[in-house]
Amino acid sequence: MRCLKCNVDLGDEYQLCPLCGSQAANERAVIEGMRTAEYPDVEYRPYPKRKVLGFFIAYLLTCAACMAADYINSGRLGISVLTAFILPCIWVLFIRPFVVKKEYIGSYILQDVFFLALLMLYISKVGTGNFGSALSHGIPILLIVSEIALLVSSLVEKYNRVISISYLLTGAAADIILIVIALSSRNVTLVLPLAALGTALVSLAIIKGLASKEFNEEIKARFKP
């Protein structure tokens, strides 16, 4: 087929010229031996619309419901504000990274431990008037659970080993800070921070033993000038 108006060859399948829209003429092509490379039949799909407004309205309604329930029960507004803050945090910190973005467990744990630790400190301060219970119990237990989770993920998945080492080193540093605080404060006991450090070191030793070659190679490649 040819378009006589544009003076160009078209494939045998064409009835119209894609350039000018005029009727294709059943004439012999000037360039011989060409076959049309077909594209798939496509149904146009616009970009998915943003669901921000829906999310925002749902969030506001949930907050309003929480506030109303809390106000009816206790007559206080403070805890309702906390609830309204926690709801998006749960989505942003726990559900979205793991379910939607599929983050690696290490980065998932790191950011969640950070924000949960802040929350524990806040609750400890509101509940007991100081940070003692969070520093001696809540945060060390959180760190122990995280370190065990990192160890398990490294044992199950070979690829996570090298990444887990850096996260465990961060955990060990946090444990040492807790121990220093415990040594300098009467409100904080030393047992759980020490247990957390022990867990981190044992986990590090196990993973380092498993991943030493890969780890050394990565360090070598990264710091090579």
């Binding site: 378009c3 009835q15 010229c17 350039l19 829209g21 594209y39 146009y44 973005k101 599929k102």
Partner: protein
């Protein structure tokens, strides 16, 4: 035939030790994550049209075989404190059947898929890659190597020669280097500012990509360019500029310029399989007079491309880019702020300097044993949210394939471009992906 994932070999472990599991973007790639939007990122496509339909299972196996050979491709993007970085991923499962328009965005942050996809549809094998991973020169080598390996798996004897990569070789460290940093020198007083260009106006349709291929025998183009003693690229640049000039409302208030990417591998020694290209803007001042003829446009741009490809000039330009990226203020700016600054610069300054990009990949060479099974090559540039048209050229030595991509339905520039060439005596064959324009409604 649809791909059955169960038939595909499981993803392999990361073995190539010379590439760290996380690494920085190269100097040219820095801009691409910044200018992406929620639905769009900078993707280009290379395609090889075979003479027979493609077997997806063997194609996936061919891609799997390159997992350790080219680990810099099997990466995903991650957000760091100061900038984005690439992280290698385990999966090489990237082969999918083509089911939508070309050059649509790649999911850059997917933990299971790399920043490129390999697609098949009947006889067409396509590689669509995010520009941050590698430039066109590297990706052309990659797709040719995949095609050669695929033909080998089909049972043909294909000799791996020229720039083709052998999947059994190990990855070379020189392929991982950021060649910009290696060649950069200290420069002072290099200015980037340019007069802005007239912009092509169209009604863009989001997530729509119209492709018009024009196949022209190389000998016809050679004859046309020989008349004016210029190269084919210069000749086609002049035709394109003239097409934009005729399409523009008169009188023109701004110059008309197009951007031409230049592979630096020809001027500077590099084996890098990442980005190592730059661009030059060429055009003419359409405000000077009202009725330009094609010959006048051609005289205006004569020599400008060669001038833009001058080694010293290119060195100064990318050295300035490397210098700016190394500035401590820029380096340690938090990535959230840096992204907004770069995005603004890209949209308001960088994109205003030219009307469209036109890239010429030259001749795609493969051994004769492989060319027996290949019909032709294609290359497509994805358009950007602010540019509604892009042009890419590639040749197999016999025919030049000129591909226009556009996110608008109107085809005035394309029509003028191809009818001008056919009027001048070139034989032109047109193909289009939008079947609406094939048939009577």
């Amino acid at each position: 035939m649809k791909l059955k994932l169960t038939e595909v070999e499981n993803a392999k472990d990361i073995k190539a030790a010379s590439v760290p599991s996380r690494f920085q973007l190269d100097n040219a790639a820095t801009i691409y994550p910044a200018c992406r939007t929620r639905d769009w990122n900078n993707v280009y496509r290379f395609a090889i049209i075979f003479k027979e339909e493609i077997n997806p299972v063997l194609l996936q196996q061919a891609v799997d075989d390159f997992y350790n050979r080219l680990p810099t491709y099997f990466v995903r993007l991650r957000t760091g404190a100061f900038w984005y970085y690439f992280e290698r991923i385990r999966s090489s499962r990237v082969v999918v059947q083509e089911d939508y328009y070309p050059c649509r965005a790649v999911n850059l942050f997917d933990s299971e898929k790399p920043c490129f996809r390999v697609m098949y549809y009947k006889r067409r094998l396509s590689l669509e890659a995010f520009h941050g991973v590698a430039d066109g020169g590297a990706s052309l080598i990659f797709i040719k190597s995949i095609a050669a390996r695929y033909l080998q798996l089909l049972g043909y004897k294909i000799e791996i020669s020229g720039d083709l990569l052998n999947c059994e070789d190990s990855f070379k460290e020189s392929e991982f280097e950021d060649s910009f940093k290696r060649h950069a020198v200290k420069v002072k007083g290099v200015k980037r500012s340019e007069v802005s260009s007239y912009q092509y106006e169209a009604d863009p349709i989001p997530n729509y990509y119209k492709v018009i291929h024009g196949l022209i025998p190389v000998e016809d183009l050679k004859a046309l360019s020989k008349e004016y003693s210029i190269t084919i690229t210069e000749y086609l640049s002049a035709v394109l500029l003239y097409a934009f000039y005729l399409d523009a409302p008169k009188p023109c208030k701004k110059p008309i310029k197009i951007s031409i990417p230049i592979s630096l591998r020809n001027s500077f020694e590099s084996n890098s399989m990442r980005n190592f290209s730059l661009y030059t803007n060429i055009g003419f001042d359409a405000t000077k007079k009202n009725n330009y003829t094609f010959e006048e446009v051609l005289e205006e741009i004569r020599g400008k491309l060669r001038e833009g490809m001058d080694k010293e000039k290119l060195l100064k330009t990318f050295s300035k880019n490397v210098g700016d990226a190394g500035n401590p203020f820029v380096r340690f700016m938090p990535s959230g702020i840096k992204r907004q600054v770069l995005n603004l610069g890209f949209k308001k300054v960088g994109q205003n300097q030219f009307i469209a990009s036109m890239t010429n990949l030259g001749i795609a060479k493969m051994p004769d044993s492989a060319m027996e099974h290949i019909d032709r090559f294609e290359v497509l540039l994805g358009e950007t949210p602010v540019k509604h048209i892009a042009i890419a050229l590639i040749s197999d030595g016999k025919n030049m394939n000129i591909s226009f991509t556009s996110n608008a339905k109107r085809v005035d520039v394309q029509r003028f471009f191809f009818t001008f060439l056919s009027q001048k005596g070139a034989r032109v064959r047109i193909e289009c992906n939008d079947k609406e324009s094939w048939f009577k409604q």
